[in-house]
Amino acid sequence: MTQSDVTNRLEMRGISIEFPGVKALDEVDFSVRRGEIHALVGANGAGKSTLMKVLAGAYDSYDGTIWFDGVPLTIDSPAAAKRAGIEIVYQEVDTALVGYLTVAENICLDVLTNGQLKGFIRRQRYEEIAERALRKLKASIDVRQRVSELRLAEKQLVLIARALVQESRFLILDEPTAPLSGRETEQLFRIIRELAEEEQLGVIFISHRLQELFEICESISVMRDGKLVSRQLLAGQTKETVVEQMLGRRLRQSKREARPAGAPSLELDRITVTGQLNQVSLTVRAGEVIGIAGLVGAGKTELCKTIFGSLPVTAGSIRLHGETRHVRSPYDAVRLGIGLVPEERRKEGILVADPIDQNMTAASLNQFVNRFGFLQKTKERTAAKQIVQQLSIKVSSTEQRAADLSGGNQQKVAIGKWLLADASVLVLDEPTKGVDVGAKAEIFQVIDQLAAEQKAVIYASSELDELLAVTDRIYVMYDGKIVFETTTAETTEEQLLWYATGGQQNE
């Protein structure tokens, strides 16, 4: 490598990191130059967030080296990363901000903690610093305002301003546009371009929205399964070639036979939830499994919770078995025969501290009381045992705590709960999140069983290959809307990803 090549270049060489059971990063080489706007893409689980966390000092041990300007750096803590001039803006901006402090105090947070400002702190002093930083961003935010009063886009700017105050050389933006409107995104892009040009800031831009990468980035790194697949200029690439590299293969048509479906079980007619869902219509029939495809933030979880009565519907109607129904709360939903297996299994799906039988009967306790209102615990246990057998859940006894089960078995418990409640419509939100490959296959089997029992199943996932494997029809969501509908037999992963990343119909 020649001298000019390493000048102003941040390089990660041979980075590997392992979590229990998985090699998250495998000999990854990655580099970005000051002044460059560089895209980092990959499917879910490809390792891009892990790689950026290494760079931001979130891990204290990993294999490989990091260099800047031809000099090796030690990055083993967030403070070390900041000293090296690397700043990260995570997708969840609130985790890095202190809501009840002012904008100025938040912007100066790092300078305060690293001791650049010493002694008594004069308010004017850091308000000046903050104002100067915000001026560079051409942002009109009152520095005395509390951060908790800001809009999301403004909070992002506060974090970027904090990076500027630190005189950072590299800025990592993790999915910065996911929560932004079109206009806010444009404004953010303008700011990023200016910073790259005028401040010689190197920007690493992570996004699922491929379209916008072409607008703002000059080069791109693609990751897959913990490895770097390619690093190249974006000029000459197309969205299709990038998708191909992300997936690692051209996808054949799926050969799934559609299941025979009965009458419509659940129909949504132009359901709108302000700020979350926009005129969503869909139908799912008895014995049918439909997929809701979409990337993180597309509105899948919101849709699932809306069907389950957990979000307030502003417009539109819901029909169950042909009759219009009001589902105003999960309580209503359960009584009408709708079940939800939520995305956050341990937080929302199961009762970790409680035994398996109590988990299973939680939604159907009415069936387990005698006429004096007392619980029939033996009956509960018998019913739980039956479900344990039916779904082949691996437990030592039904009195075992749910916390002690593996992820896949916990998920089956969460599904089993709705079998006991005799739900006719089952909504599964990212049901394979955090379960291993073997358990995934078993969950698919369970879903097949459910369909065979004439349940209507809604399967929401950002894992497109899973949707192709398990569903009969697929709706693709983007930005709170359904943008595409297809039978599973007629689509490909590429086509789904195309629509899920904001691709247009007629291309």
Binding site: S49, L340, V352, D354, A362, A363, N366
Partner: protein, 339 residues
């Protein structure tokens, strides 16, 4: 993005108790019972009258009110809700019931019923603040604690009420406190009431679906909500039960004292909290439960009774009672952390 790699899937959960440490587990589950036995042994040796039948009945009688209030608190704790206002509710109920007798000469049943009903406004305000306005339970009930302490005092004109005393405006009163009312707090009755309250609550919490729902909500309100349980309704019910039992405690208190005293109920908050927390580790339950609370109240009661017998001055008792509470809390929260 949701990078599943950050949540290592293979990580097993730590079991509730460390295997290979049965001694620790036994101590944790049965520690209160051991402590009670140790205390009994200690006081029996140091205070000669301690083991006499009359004294034991005395102890049971003295813990009755604490237990009943603590049982209410236990129910609110099942939904993970704390109720600091139980002492004020008790005071309020005791002022009300005595005033109904003395000022208005109302009959026994009506007086008690009305007092219970009106005292429930404390619970209603708690529900409004906690369930509707989403104020953290500790702060909301801290506020109602003061509000209703004040309401009770304002109602009684800042003084006590007893038979023969004139009203606030100076008009003489003719009402008497019925003998039958004073009887309620006598030996068999008050203990029976306590035992019934404990038994009914135990059955309610452990053998009805409502009790199950309360525990589910306490364990994970979000999961409870997404299971179709009406979380807010059950939280409201829990605070209502806590308020009701606190009011029952207040009425028994009035019966015991034979008059209404300022802030009479406030002294019951601390021992009730202690009893409920001490009891939550009883028999390895690891959650607030009625039987445990009774045992916890016994521990507190025996401690107090024995110390008095040993002539520890009353003004120093709070040091020991407070320390016991701190110990109980430490054992509860320390365990949680290990989980």
């Amino acid at each position: 993005m949701n990078d599943v790699l950050h949540e290592p899937t293979a990580k097993p959960d730590t079991p509730r108790t460390a295997p290979g440490k049965p001694v620790l587990r036994f101590l944790n589950d049965w520690g209160i019972v051991l402590a009670i036995l140790a205390l009994i042994l200690f006081f029996a040796m140091t205070a000669p009258n301690f083991l006499q039948g009359t004294n034991l009945v005395n102890i049971l009688r003295s813990i009755s009110i604490v237990t009943i209030i603590a049982i209410g608190l236990t129910v609110s704790l099942t939904v993970n809700g704390f109720d600091l206002s139980v002492g004020s509710t008790a005071t309020f109920a005791s002022s009300l019931v005595v005033s109904f007798f003395v000022w208005y000469s109302l009959p026994l049943g009506v007086s008690i019923g009305l007092a219970l009903l009106i005292a429930l406004t404390v619970a209603l305000v708690n529900i409004l603040l906690i369930v509707k306005f989403k104020i953290p339970d500790l702060f909301a009930t801290l506020a109602t604690m003061f509000i209703f302490e004040g309401v009770a005092m304002t109602y009684t004109g800042g003084g006590s009420i007893s038979a023969g005393m004139p009203r606030l405006d100076g008009t003489p009163t003719v009402g008497l406190i019925p003998e039958s009312f004073l009887k309620i707090s006598q030996a068999p009755w008050i203990i029976l009431i306590m035992l019934v309250v404990v038994a009914v609550t135990h059955v309610f919490l452990n053998h009805t679906r409502h009790g199950r729902f309360l525990y589910i909500i306490g364990g994970n309100p979000e999961a409870a909500h997404l299971t179709g349980i009406r979380v807010n309704r059950y939280r409201a019910i829990a605070y209502l039960i806590a308020g009701l039992l606190a009011a029952v405690g207040g009425i028994l208190l009035a019966s015991q004292v034979g008059s209404s005293q300022i802030n009479a109920g406030s002294g019951y908050l601390m021992p009730a909290v202690a009893a409920a927390f001490i009891g939550s580790s009883f028999a390895g339950q690891g959650k607030p439960n009625a039987l445990g609370t009774l045992v916890g109240a016994c521990l507190v009661g025996i401690l107090e009774n024995g110390l008095v017998m040993l002539s520890v001055p009353y003004y120093s008792l709070n040091i020991i009672k407070g320390a016991v509470l701190a110990l109980a809390l430490a054992s509860t929260y320390y365990r949680f952390k290990k989980n």
